[in-house]
Symmetry: C2
């Protein structure tokens, strides 16, 4: 009887353990579910009078959590404060400055850069074709306008274009790429016109991201990066794999660093994409041909889809630097690579010498894309119907500018050269003046439109500001005291313990000199104040 009683006790203990485990599992799964569900249970009961006490359907608690995670420093809190300050100035409120200078964003025309006359003449003709009878317009602008209008439904910019873009524009883009790349062929069917490069980049990432948990797509992006990438990845719930550019070596890219980042990432995601920005944003470096070749080899070996953001391809200033397109280098590496490596390259009308940001135009070229996926891409872009047609017109003119024998050539050439020369001059000046400031070090601005100098921040500035990145504190103070709007390095990513800001080189030369002098003065007083 004692034995039997004992055996009963053991059995009861087993039962209790099983019941306990079972209940625990149910509890865990319900808690987990509650955590995953961002949609809280309704907080009210529906009654006849419930309308009066109805809560919001859409709140921070119920909204898409991926959207909540998105950050975009280039238009973040510092820019909102800059806009407020501008309004306060307008209202006559006294400030230590008379003007807010927005050096936060590559917005060329807003900084006084003039549009290219030829582009705007053709655009005016396309908008209002009655002007085709006007003698003040050079004959070549009219020829262009007529050709473009003929390619538009009903001869009007007001018609939808094909989803991939107007056919003749895609043909012109293909010819432009062939010329740029020394004759390497480009198929217009591989060209997709976009609403600015941002649209192309987010569309491609949307196509590339899949999987859940540790099978989620990992996307390699440089640090510092242009925050469109991190924002798009957050929105898509993709995994960001950061690789660091080497600040000591002029923000160059080392394959060892890529390898290191990739290996670590394989533990928690499935890396599939490698994004490169060349010339660099925010870092202004121009990649060497050798480096591009190394990156392509790495992508081939590691089975990565390459995304090359080449929107600054005409913005190269430093002696000895040249822009090499990923496509050209890929094809020069032979068919072992050029037949296989999947690449998409982005370009835009917003940068280079034209700086036409407001038109939101650009293109992407896909290379070696699986034909079935291309069908899916074409379907995906068809949902937004078409890119803005005025932007398509502008892009056509950018890739197909006046020829030397045409009447608009001289003015076009002079305007383009003057803008690029001015940018080169401002790049040199920015680097030189910033490097004179004790506590600021700055790599050469080899290309693009930005400098990303490193700033030494005094210990008290780093220590005292809870909940705000020290460089955000620095930039906010600079804005309040001088009216100069920069973006803190933390918005782009930087190595722990280092601080930077991004500044455009776009303000007119005279104003840029003042901006740089003010930054110098501010940095010195800030350092004294917080040392």
């Amino acid at each position: 009887m004692v034995e039997s009683a004992l055996s009963n006790i053991y059995i009861y203990i087993y039962i209790y353990i099983y019941i306990y485990i079972y209940i625990y599992k149910i509890w865990v799964s319900s808690v987990g579910r509650r955590r995953v569900f961002s949609n809280p249970p309704p907080t009210h009961e529906m009654t006849e009078n419930s309308v009066v006490h109805r809560g919001k359907v859409l709140t921070l608690g119920t909204m898409n959590p991926s959207v909540k995670r998105v950050e975009y420093a280039v238009r973040g809190p510092i820019v909102q404060r800059a806009v407020q300050l501008e309004q306060e100035l307008k209202q006559g409120i006294q400030k230590p400055f008379t003007e807010v200078i927005k050096a936060n964003i590559g917005d060329c025309h807003a900084m006084g850069q003039q549009p290219i006359t030829f582009f705007r003449q053709v655009l005016a003709l396309c908008c209002y074709p009655d002007l085709l009878e006007d003698n003040r317009f050079p004959e070549d602008t009219k020829t262009r306008a007529r050709r473009i209008l003929q390619a538009c439904g009903g001869g009007s910019l007001g018609s939808y274009s094909a989803s991939q873009g107007i056919e003749i524009v895609r043909q012109d883009v293909a010819r432009y790429i062939e010329k740029r790349d020394g004759g390497i062929p480009c198929n217009p069917d591989n060209i997709y016109l976009t609403t600015g490069a941002s649209d192309g980049i987010t569309t491609m990432l949307k196509l590339l991201v899949s999987g859940e948990g540790s099978s989620r797509t990992g996307v390699m992006i440089s640090i510092p990066q242009y925050p469109l990438y991190s924002a798009a990845l957050a929105e898509l719930s993709a995994v960001q794999i950061s690789y660091y550019l080497d600040e000591e070596n002029c923000w160059s890219l080392a394959v060892g660093e890529l390898q290191h980042a990739l290996e670590a990432a394989r533990q928690y995601c499935r890396p599939r994409v490698l994004c490169i920005i060349n010339p660099g944003n925010p870092t202004g470096q121009v990649q060497s041909r050798q480096c591009i070749e190394d990156v392509i080899k790495f992508a081939a070996e590691q089975n990565l889809f390459l995304m090359a953001d080449e929107v600054y391809q005409d913005n190269v200033y430093a002696d000895g630097c040249r822009f090499h397109s990923f496509k050209k280098v890929l094809f020069e590496m032979g068919s072992k690579y050029s037949d296989q490596v999947e690449l998409v390259s982005f370009h835009s009308t917003s940068k280079c010498y034209m700086g036409e940001c407001g038109f939101r135009a650009g293109y992407m070229e896909v290379v070696n894309m699986d034909p079935e996926v291309k069908v899916q891409l074409t379907k995906l872009v068809s949902v937004r119907l078409c890119p803005p047609v005025p932007g398509q017109v502008l892009l056509d003119l950018v890739v197909n500018p006046p020829l030397p024998e045409e009447p608009s050539y001289r003015t076009f050439f002079e305007e383009r050269s003057a803008t690029l020369a001015m940018l080169a001059e401002k790049a040199r000046m920015t680097q030189q003046i910033l490097n004179e400031v004790p506590g600021i070090t700055c790599n050469p601005v080899q290309g693009a439109m930005y400098t990303f100098p490193r700033i030494q921040l005094p210990p008290k500035a780093i220590a005292q500001e809870k909940g705000q990145a020290p460089d955000m504190f620095y930039c906010m103070k600079l804005l309040e005291e001088t009216g100069i709007c920069l973006v803190p390095g933390s918005g782009f990513g930087q190595r722990d313990g280092t601080y930077h800001f991004r500044m455009t080189i776009l303000p007119p030369t005279d104003k840029l000199k003042i901006v740089l002098a003010k930054i110098k003065e501010f940095h010195q007083s800030f350092t004294e104040q917080y040392s």
Copy 2:
């Protein structure tokens, strides 16, 4: 002892049951997880020489499965075939027709509608401000252009605008809405300019969708619907809740049907959004004021966020029909509703009398949106920097057209009236001629730009075509035989066993007559052939 042995047996049975349940739960959860992973395991091993045998990174198997699910009939296979046919005609290949007529999409200018002179003059002035010195432009076009350019950074359309849109344009939109709605106030801060209405709709849905499994956001859309909605929901992996419009009652919306659809959907998702298209696309109905009030009450009672697609607000043709905005009706229902119901309304420059699709412009007004969510919305739209600026200019002119005392008024008024009168005439004609065809029945085209007639298909046509919807088979055959491009009803959704097509009323009157005659003839011969 017998008792004790018996009690032991019971205990063992309990234990077995618990173990069984426990194992079953673990199995279920692992299977569920496997199904969620859309990323198949890698099919190749990396070796030194792997580059040569490297498979594609991006394939149908590895791409985003949500993108794969997207369908968009308005630009689907039938349109691709239409483009092919056009090219074949150009190459001189003989067809039973000499021209492809695209009645598949509301592309007004492509169908010969002329742009409004005032709009295009101001756009030309803004593109090329040297024209401000030209005497051929009326003074009011110059005043407008100067005012808009002053609101652009650096006085250029090439600058980025604020992410929400140019401030004065948003102010003008707000005044337009106030005037339209009989003085009900509109705050410019609630206006977001968009890249066409499609952009606004997808942005709002992106914000609204959250949750997993049975807590996933459910979005109610009408059937038939405009396929942008189903495409956006597929991309966001949201749950589509279909409610049917009543074809027997001129495609009207009954709250009973909403209730029915909502209750069924609560079993498998969390319904949070109700989308309405008024005037209807593809169905052409105009909702009565009473119906809108009923819908608002329903949304209030059921805690639904209202999305009102009102892009056809000027396209109302039928006697006794009027456009009532959801905003106006909401505010006329008193503060019990107007303080609470969350609403977003969309408008566009692509439709109405202007039909400027290519400029990709529009706006949305958010009403009663949680201020914290508005901050998130503003952040989200800032990632795409800004809507195209030429489109913003156009939108400004649409909401702020010439006043009777201004020089451009007369021409503007005449052009607008002529276009709207022509559309009304074509709406009547389409309905009348189609209803004369045996086997085709067609509701009145009260508004918008489409008819969605029901077609009786003969049994052999329904039975024999495997893998292709019978109405797709019908439309494809129509295209091949007549060159007329329509969209099959299956692309919009329809009750099982019924068949339709969508056709725009946009071709010029003479051509529309021919199109309708050809459809009549085709329908008769098709019916004979497959009976």
